[in-house]
Amino acid sequence: MDLQIRRGEIFGLLGPNGAGKSTTIRMLCTLLEPTSGTATVNGFDVVKQANEARRSLGTVLAGERSIYWKLTGRENLEYFAALYHIPAAAAKKRVDELIERMEIKDRANELVEKYSTGMRQRIAIAKALLARPPILLLDEPTLGLDPQAARNLRELIAQLKAEGHTILLTTHYMEEADQLSDRIGIIDAGKVIALDTPNNLKRRIDQKEVIRLEVSGWHESIAEKLKSIAGIENLLARQQGEDDLWEVNMQANDSRAALPRIVEHISGNGTRLANMNILKPSLEDVFIHLTGKALRD
């Protein structure tokens, strides 16, 4: 993998499960040593100058157990401020400032075990911001948050960029990557397979259209028939909840020409077409086009 992240940008790192996103983050934040090659953070080698690299970084790892549940929010921040070698007076001021900014002032002295997932995530982000590091590594920061909390967090990430932080973001939410990232790197099996701005990535397949169907009674033999239609590619079917309703997405060079044959293959044999849409390609479609997989696979 050869990747450079520019100062002051939000870089979205996307890839299917097992592609190497978290491994990349773990190497950059010095938790995992690369088996070969080199990685530098703010100019510091992550193996040879690990402590200098750590001082340049604020990291939020996926999951909500990165803070102490038997300490209060404030105690957690004071503790990590000491670990990040922030002098006592500056630490106190900074902790107050972050408690205010994260809107947890009213509950800062309660044990973290009483917090909601969103509040715990805010403490984890405050922890990453404590030392005012120039670079932030955010691994799935909105995972498990309710829509409102996720929206607030996305706003915060945009503000942090405006304040000059360089941000490396991994996410499972394509819209989030599209909305926040200046550039996106798509990785698969440990290799960068595409790297560009979200708009340029979308332009790669802008002559294609996405056909989205909702079908009941779906079975694999229909998929084989649809894939055999000329100009149809990257077909992915996903069951919707517990019902026998499937969302089927496919990319088409000429949807008007393909539609009659699609309808013909789906009709009959207990299969019913419930809905159909023709859409402009999104970033997720670019991802599917490049990897052959949906992001959540």
């Binding site: 938790l31 088996t35 790892l61 038997k70 000491a82 070698h85 002098p87 900074r94 404590l130 590091p133």
Partner: protein, 285 residues
């Protein structure tokens, strides 16, 4: 960036971080109230079986104590057993608590968070040992008080010499704990080793009997375990009035073992921590 980093590296910062780790561990420790039970009840219950067995063998009037007295030079067999079991409990608790300190962080999910910071890694182990040491000193003090009140044990020796031996024993007892903690980061568990070590201490170090009654080969094994010298020295310091001269040879051996075990503990920590970073074991549950 509109502001510079607040991180200020240096010795004072590392010291503050070390203190913060110790304070965090203490705060978390006291927020689990079960520690009071282990502090007050366990020291009395654990040696009770040994004490009552000894009472049965010596007779309630102590008429059968002659052999014990000839071998140990002491009549205070309850105190003798109490000191042995207290030291055994100390080492046992250190193996379970300090030995599992990093593993506990790993299971909480906080080890990686700590490892992300620029703090000296060994501080995490050293810092979390401090509250453990304080609670152990409390346990030893409470135990001594309980034996005095409940069993009428007379600690006729010197409090200061006893404290001196305990202080000198810290490197040996905790060095072994650090070695365990380091192995546990990658091995994930060390129950079998803990059982082996505490079993060896129980059998070879004479926690309830003098080493003289053991076969020669067992006495030789006992001489390679620091707990043998710690138990002997604490007994001399707390139960006899022979003064510093009686504990000096033991003290020398305890300090030598302490230096060796601290060095082994630190070396293992460095090797195992690096290995965990290479294999990605730090974040593994």
């Amino acid at each position: 960036m509109n502001a510079t980093s607040l991180t200020t590296p240096g010795f004072t910062s590392d010291l503050r971080a070390f203190w913060a780790i110790a304070r965090r561990e203490w705060t978390v420790f006291v927020r689990y109230p079960s520690w009071i039970i282990s502090l007050l009840i366990w020291p009395v219950i654990f040696p009770m079986g040994y004490i009552l067995t000894a009472r049965a063998l010596s007779g309630v009037d102590g008429s059968g104590l002659t052999t014990f007295q000839n071998t140990t030079g002491l009549t205070e067999y309850v105190g003798y057993i109490a000191v042995g079991t207290m030291i055994w409990m100390w080492q046992n608790i250190v193996l379970w608590s300090v030995g599992y300190a990093l593993r506990t962080e790993q299971m909480r999910g906080t080890l990686e968070s700590n490892w992300l910071s620029p703090t000296w890694r060994f501080s995490h182990l050293l810092g979390s040992s401090i509250p453990q040491l304080v609670s152990m000193l409390m346990l030893l003090a409470v135990s001594a008080l309980e034996y005095a009140v409940l069993f009428g044990v007379e600690f006729r020796g010197s409090l200061w010499l006893t404290l001196l031996v305990i202080l000198a024993s810290i490197p040996a007892v905790y060095g072994l704990g650090f070695a365990f903690a380091s192995v546990v980061i990658t091995a994930k568990e060390a129950n079998a080793f803990v059982f082996l070590v505490r079993g060896a201490v129980m059998v070879f170090c004479g926690i309830t009997y003098p080493l003289a009654i053991l076969p020669v080969w067992m006495q030789t094994v006992g001489q390679w375990l620091p707990q043998t010298y710690i138990i002997h020295a604490v007994r001399s310091a707390a139960l006899s009035t022979d003064g510093f001269a009686a504990i000096a040879p033991d003290l020398k051996m305890i300090l030598i073992f302490g230096a060796v075990w601290l060095a082994i503990g630190y070396a293992l920590f460095v090797v195992m921590e690096r290995r965990a970073r290479q294999t990605g074991a730090i974040g593994q549950y």
